[in-house]
């Protein structure tokens, strides 16, 4: 795009908003959205965990299987792992200065967060749907 002779935009216009993440303000905005989502659903889960008086399997299982709690938990897991990925991405961008190591670290973070989200959501579904 940069080498296009028909591009009438000034160099400043082309560069504006891209930053070190090469992704404009999209990253910034989603970091805030997932922060609010994680905070709200996280407070619900905190109340859930603090309400426990025992670690007994049937009690905890029933607590997680409750439809409202399971919904909050799935929302929390998706928002939180997305937020974790965005945050760790910025930390790697800021502190890892070798392109190859950086790329490998970014891929590892992305894959681990995605797998963790998939595994935990499947676990909650299995508990809530009782199979």
């Amino acid at each position: 795009m940069n080498g296009n002779a028909n591009d009438l935009r000034t160099p400043l216009k082309r560069a504006r908003g891209w930053g070190s993440a090469k992704d404009g303000t999209h990253h910034f905005i989603w970091q805030r959205i997932t922060a609010v989502a994680t905070g709200l659903t996280g407070l619900w889960l905190l109340g859930m965990v603090l309400s426990l008086r025992t670690a007994d399997y049937t009690v905890v299982h029933a607590l997680v299987a409750d439809p409202v709690n399971a919904t909050a938990l799935v929302a929390f897991l998706l928002g939180m792992f997305w937020h974790a990925r965005l945050g760790l991405q910025v930390i790697i961008e800021d502190y890892v200065h070798t392109p190859l190591t950086g790329a490998v670290a970014q891929l590892a973070v992305l894959f681990i967060c995605a797998l963790a989200a998939i595994a935990s959501v499947l676990a909650v579904l299995r508990i809530a749907l009782g199979s």
Partner: protein
């Protein structure tokens, strides 16, 4: 400055701790035997210590995160406000952690 670094550090700690949450949910989905193994892990002295550290990281990241969101909204940008609110993050997170553990230990009959 310091609060910003701690926000990142606690973020990394919470990311690692989130994997323990995944382990816990998988254990709960896997049946009583696996859940009990997980509960024994958490109940061990090392497990309790990690949970305590994790809870402080959570309290700090939560309070400081709300502070950052307010600053995104343009609040508290003057330097004295900035320094005062950073003390709220640091002291508030310790107070919140102690309160939460006081509540847990009382309810579980250990205090």
């Amino acid at each position: 400055m310091v609060t910003s670094i701690i926000h990142r550090a606690t973020g990394v700690i919470l990311s690692v701790g989130a994997l323990a949450l995944v382990y816990g949910l998988l254990a709960l989905a896997g049946g009583p035997a696996r859940w009990n193994a997980f509960a024994i892990c958490l109940g061990s002295p090392l497990g309790k210590l990690l949970m305590f550290g994790f809870s402080w990281a959570l309290a700090y990241h939560l309070i400081n995160g709300i502070r950052h969101l307010l600053q995104d909204g343009g609040l508290g940008f003057a330097i004295p406000d900035f320094i005062r609110s950073s003390w709220i993050s640091i002291i508030g997170s310790v107070v919140l952690t102690v309160l939460a553990w006081g509540m847990v230990l009382t309810r579980w009959g250990q205090a």
